[in-house]
Amino acid sequence: MFSKILIANRGEIAVRIIRACKEMGVATVAVYSEADKNALHVALADQSYCIGGPEASESYLNENQIISTAILAGAQAIHPGYGFLSENAHFARACRKNGLVFIGPDPESMERLSDKAILKELIRGTGLSVIPGTKAVASAEEARRAAEIIGYPVMLKPCAGGGGRGIRLIRSEDEVNDAYYQAIGEAVSSFGDGSVYLEKYIFPARHVELQILADEHGNAVCLGDRDCSLQRRNQKLLEETPSPAVDDEQRAQIMELAVEAVKQIRYVGAGTLEFLLDREGNFWFMEMNIRLQVEHCVTEMLTGIDLVKWQIRIAAGIPLDFSQKDIKIKGSAIECRINAGSCGTLKMLHVPGGPSVRFDTYLVVGTVVSPYYDSLLGKLIVYAKTREETLRKMRASLCELVIDGIPTNIEEQLRIVEDERFTSGNYDLTFMGNR
């Protein structure tokens, strides 16, 4: 096991990881930008080093500075959290070169799995269904032929794209030509790369993902699913486990397939398989996240398994001490992301409490929310034996939560939690007015 870990992140996830380390008896090194010198993660860690200016590129994305600090401070491993360097194979390789353990998959896996085409090829071989689609199409004619085979509606997506930008929907054959040239133009102007590919358009759909833990010794376990259909412009707002759209039998089936797939691709670490779930109950594989997710906490509340600790243990070569049969999917857990509406300074914080209420945050009185980083202030997570009770608990907790001095989306979350579509469980990706 490691005796000292550097946390290459900030905000609530840095706090979360530092706390996990303390509970494991592992010393912690925080790094921070000039904008974060008064931040909670800096105060909580055993050692803290300022590594650069407020811009992430100067600090939290500054690979050399972070590795150099880890070496100087005597850390053996680096936890990247989520975002920033967490999916950066170059950084993982640099860690290894400097004798540091990157807490995540090895750089070769990262490269292999970050190439969508390779990943889909790999997954197709495991028994999971991949969304039908093409590689880059060279002409409108080729797009038309492919669409014929896949079946309308289809989507044209930029190969170099991301974040939902530059996507065109094609409902029938006569729309192909115009859409193709518009998509190419947009792809060039947005990403400097005009190649586009075709994919089956699954609608209406829910975003359902499966949490995986896999160790070096060939053990892999699936910790259930999460429904993340509540998004605005591809940003998740609220997540729950288990998904109200998936019945126990379906869940058991897809979990088994997922474990099998992860074993086949020899993945090691914490990971997430993301699917689109259609009305007929088919799971269409979209992509794999090879890091901790923001919403990992709902899975922790449901299963009682600490994902951060297991990430660290797996990186240290420790085998999982539980197996699939130990995972009980009982009750219901919901997370509401509490985001800042704009910058501000925290004047007062009141956090709801009681059994199975958790608020993961970096807020302390005086915390300044600066424009440099994302708007996530904290995550309110509650668990209860039934979804109905969990909903009431979330409502009560949202009502009790007070964040004074920073505009937040608490009111919006309350409206979502009280929305009939949400309470009935009958919602999909269109909930927030998305396509």
Binding site: N38, A43, C50, I51, V364
Partner: protein, 140 residues
């Protein structure tokens, strides 16, 4: 009443932790009051010492600070038994090497940004410095 006197008295009150001071001398009298109650901001979660002094930024300075641009180990001299690059009182020219900050086996030379005289060396040989740690004061 002279401003300098008021300043002097106020400083004294602060130093001695007084909340009131009244002085009657011949035909003049002065009374000063301050509240000691720590302002709310100071009860904030304590900032680790490594963060450095934030106040210096707002005070007027008669020198130029040379700060470390990276995390590393500060070396005052090019080799173990060599003389230090600079000492207090040395006149330095813009571009002149002042010290080395080593990170990942790389020796990063830190150079003077202005001509001047070294008035203070803020760190000691072999010390770990962070981004922004003050290394030298240079008086123009």
């Amino acid at each position: 009443m002279k401003e300098t006197d008021i300043r002097k008295y106020a400083e004294l009150m602060k130093e001695l932790g007084l909340t009131g001071l009244e002085i009657t001398e011949e035909n003049s009298k002065i009374r000063l009051e301050r509240s000691v109650s720590v302002p709310a901001k100071e009860t904030v979660y304590s900032v680790p010492e490594s963060v450095g002094d934030t106040q210096t930024a707002s005070e007027p300075k008669d020198y130029i600070s040379v700060k470390s641009p990276l995390v590393g180990v500060f070396y005052a001299a090019p080799a173990e038994n060599a003389d230090p690059y600079v000492s207090i009182g040395d006149r330095v020219a813009k571009g002149q090497t002042l010290c080395i900050v080593e990170a990942m086996k790389l020796m990063n030379e830190i150079t003077a940004e202005v001509d001047g005289v070294i008035s203070e060396i803020c760190v000691t040989n072999g010390q770990i410095v962070e981004y922004g740690t003050e290394l030298f004061h240079i008086k123009r």
